[in-house]
């Protein structure tokens, strides 16, 4: 009964390849996020979707394309992978509109290594 799940957990690929990471939440939340954690453990928001609508799109190369087929899923597709894309990518979800902040629940992360 994992709340936020991601697949795969590890992803090793070569430069120039295209890859996808999938995220699913079973919490009934309406908002989902992608974060990138670099080698220094710094966490930065990349994207956020609310009810399948993109609401946050930080300065991210357009090689990164999120897709939300429904409220429970948010996938991240990355084209033409570069060495600098190596990082841990976290998916998270929350319920917006409650007026009491933005308590987010995180998935276990996907460690992407580009060689």
């Amino acid at each position: 009964d994992t709340a936020v799940s991601q697949t795969p957990k590890y992803l090793v690929t070569q430069m120039g390849n295209d890859k996808s990471i999938k995220c699913e939440q079973n919490l009934g939340h309406d908002t989902m996020y992608w974060y990138k954690q670099d080698s220094k453990k710094f966490l930065k928001i990349m994207f956020s979707y609310n009810n399948k609508e993109l609401i946050i799109n930080e300065t991210v190369p357009n090689r990164f394309s999120p897709k939300s087929p429904d409220k429970a899923h948010l996938n991240l597709h990355i084209n033409s992978l570069e060495l600098g894309d190596s990082a841990v990518y976290f998916c998270a979800s929350s319920q917006a509109g409650r007026g009491q902040g933005n308590e987010q629940y995180f998935g276990p992360g996907t460690r992407l290594t580009v060689t």
Binding site: K41, S48, I55, Q100, G101, N102, Q104, P108, G109
Partner: protein, 115 residues
Amino acid sequence: AQSVTQPDIHITVSEGASLELRCNYSYGATPYLFWYVQSPGQGLQLLLKYFSGDTLVQGIKGFEAEFKRSQSSFNLRKPSVHWSDAAEYFCAVVSTSGSARQLTFGSGTQLTVLP
């Protein structure tokens, strides 16, 4: 823009000793604040949160945090540290991006527990 500062990159304590991890935020209104913990190779787990009301909040695993508006701080404390508390700790504040809310994280504090 909202921001979070965690002044201590790395803290080492002995098992059984008390712990305090510092967090300072920058936010104009009443902030929504969180502490998350990340164990090695794991995702982020919510320890506790502050939205309003009592400035001393209790969390899971015996942690507590105190919101001090005058000092713009939200420090995390634990009276007696266990070896299993060794992890990376992140303070976060809800920030707004247009009409969307997101979490802005501090740079993290790595906790080492000595036997």
